[in-house]
């Protein structure tokens, strides 16, 4: 059905690259054995070797050692594992205080809430109008009981980048573990474990044209983390369960295919779209103008509501996303837009466009024209914004 359809929701899911699919196929049909120890039968050893190679590839782009990278089912699991794993490992030993921000994505936010119910204290840091956390507030909030700081590398909705290096340095200085959710910035914004003092990093395959259902957690050597899934001894004995080998192979292939040139191309599209959309009256950019994901455009249009915009664009063959309450499963307006000081109206009228490998430069003009018309039509029937 997605033929002429212009897909601009690459922060939600991306189309699998055919080369990734081809790389995965043999691991469904031929090398389907369970990864065994070196004393097992040969297909199992072959599977094990392939898994090791995939792990080395992904660890490599993170500037990490192979044994510091754990495969998971995706970023939701990775972030759950980071927060709850540290809480279980250090809660009794060191303290029960965790610091995060108000605009984290739900895996971090809801893991933190779940820990609060178990007696942990959580500080949710404020962010400024662009979505950047206040480093002074972070410094002041750390106590001897603080065991973990979890601040995202980039925001899922407004694309704002955090100063991960500076946050990491503060955490180091205070001897506190630092987790960053890099789901949306992985390979699009540089992050090297040899340079940045971060202990746990959430990444995923499905936003870089890899398969769904596979992600990972970087765990710096020596980081205390409780066993997450009981069973066998897989994934450095932290996460039991037979490995998703086709997924791991696909993840590694997807990693290999991302290039800086491609990211630059996405950034060009982003910048042109921002420029075009800000020409529409009563529109404003959400997030930071420059410190933002290279493929994310997020604009609020006044006097109109996001679900209506989304449906009209859908009818015209475009897929986008919105922070409107009407669109969310909880009927709540985007906590990110509210977190950066926006009101409900700004959240309801916010639209996110995210580019990916299969977008073409002409998609920018096509969606810009379509949305200008849709906004005009919806404003014509809106009781707001007239005289």
């Amino acid at each position: 059905m997605i033929g002429e359809f212009i897909y601009l929701d690459n922060a939600a899911a991306t189309r699998l690259d055919e080369r990734v699919l081809e790389a995965m196929k043999p691991y469904f049909l031929e090398t389907y054995a369970v990864a065994t120890s070196q004393f097992g039968y040969s297909p199992g050893i072959e599977a094990k070797d392939a898994l090791d190679a995939a792990r080395a590839t992904i660890a490599g782009v993170l500037g990490a050692e192979s044994e510091e990278f754990i495969f998971t089912s995706g970023s939701t699991e990775s972030s759950n594992m980071a927060l709850k794993g540290v809480a279980m490992a250090l809660g009794e030993k060191k303290g029960k205080h965790i610091i995060t921000s108000k605009i984290e994505d739900f895996p971090v936010l809801h893991s933190a809430r779940a820990l609060e119910k178990q007696g942990f204290r959580v500080t949710y840091l404020d962010v400024d109008e662009y979505g950047r956390v206040n480093l002074d507030q972070l410094r002041e909030t750390i106590t001897p009981e603080t065991i973990l700081v979890s601040i995202q590398a980039a925001n899922q909705e407004i694309g704002t980048l955090q100063d991960v290096a500076a946050i990491g340095a503060i955490c180091r200085e205070h001897g506190v573990l630092f987790h960053t959710d890099a789901t949306h910035s992985f390979l699009r914004v540089p992050l090297d474990m040899r340079e940045v003092p971060v202990d746990l990093v959430t990444v995923t395959a499905h936003l870089i044209h890899g398969p769904k259902g596979i992600g990972g957690l970087y765990v710096r050597k020596g980081t205390p983390l409780a066993k997450w899934m009981d069973g066998g001894f897989q994934e450095i004995n932290l996460r039991a369960g037979e490995e998703n080998i086709p997924g791991a192979i696909g993840f590694a292939k997807a990693v290999e295919l991302v290039t800086p040139e491609e990211t630059a191309r996405l950034q060009n599209m982003r910048d042109r779209l921002i420029e075009r959309l800000l020409q529409i009256p009563h529109s404003r950019l959400n997030g930071h103008p420059t410190l933002r994901l290279p493929h994310n455009t997020n604009i609020s249009f006044r006097f109109v509501e996001g679900e209506s915009i989304l449906l009209h664009l859908d009818m015209r063959g475009f897929a986008v996303s919105t922070g409107s309450a009407c669109f969310s499963r909880s009927l709540e307006a985007s906590h990110v837009i509210l977190g950066i000081g926006g009101n409900h109206e700004r959240a309801h009228g916010s639209v996110r466009f995210t580019f990916g490998r299969f977008n073409k430069p002409e998609d920018v003009d096509a969606v810009a024209e379509a949305i200008a018309e849709v906004i005009e039509n919806l404003r014509a029937i809106s009781p707001l914004g007239k005289e």
Binding site: E305, E307, S308, D314, S324, E332, E345, I381, S382, L384
Partner: protein
């Protein structure tokens, strides 16, 4: 396309009927607010003789179900007397649209409320209203019947979510039988406040949850 909306809803969303303003209306009303995410304005022209709605228009800031319901209620109300139009229920509007997803009920109820408020506005302007009655538990419960339980699409009274209503000196306290961190808790609180606060003798609305 597997949209949650019926063909009729989408048709009215694409081509809403009776949309716009009446410059010199005999009555008008605005329900909802930009903060709650949906807002409807309804404008009426009424024949003073037989009190028939000769013209009706609406404007909407809202989602598809809000726009579609605004459109259908104007069609249902046009040509009816005020007394007849008052009887138009959300259920009728929803049926005329071929059904609405339960989670979207509140946005569509708003449009029906908009029509009723416009009629009330006409009655107030033309001296047709009876005395103001003080707010009682009964009055509050009646209003709560317009607050939808997004889990079922039925109102919070019918689905037994209202555990307690207490009124003392301008403060209305409503206890909802849900945990405070429930998926829809914030939404339900907001809806209840929006419905109860406008009552003439209410200063403050407190919504509490059971756990």
């Amino acid at each position: 396309m597997p949209l949650p909306y019926s063909e009729t809803v989408m048709e009215h969303f694409r081509h809403p009927r009776n949309v716009g303003r009446i410059d010199d209306p005999d009555a008008k009303a605005v329900e909802g607010s930009p903060a709650c995410g949906d807002m409807v304005a309804v404008y009426l022209k009424v024949d003073p003789g037989d009190q028939r709605i000769t013209d009706i228009k609406f404007e909407s800031y809202g989602c598809a179900s809000n726009i579609a319901t605004g459109s259908i209620i104007t069609e249902l109300a046009k040509g009816k007397t005020l007394e007849e139009a008052k009887q138009i229920t959300w259920k009728e509007a929803s049926e005329a649209l071929g059904g609405l997803p339960p989670i979207k009920t509140h946005c569509s109820v708003l449009a029906v409320d908009g029509l009723r408020a416009a009629i009330q506005n006409y009655e107030e302007r033309h001296g047709l209203v009876k005395e103001r009655v003080p707010t009682t538990v009964e009055v509050v419960n009646k209003r709560l019947k317009h607050v939808m339980n997004p889990m079922t699409g039925l109102d919070v009274v019918r689905t037994k979510l209202v555990k307690e209503v207490e009124i003392s000196g301008g403060t209305v306290r409503v206890v909802i039988d849900l945990p405070a961190d429930h998926q829809f808790a914030a939404n339900i609180r907001e809806e209840i406040t929006d419905k109860i606060e406008p009552l003439w003798d209410v200063d403050r609305v407190i919504v509490e949850f059971t756990e």
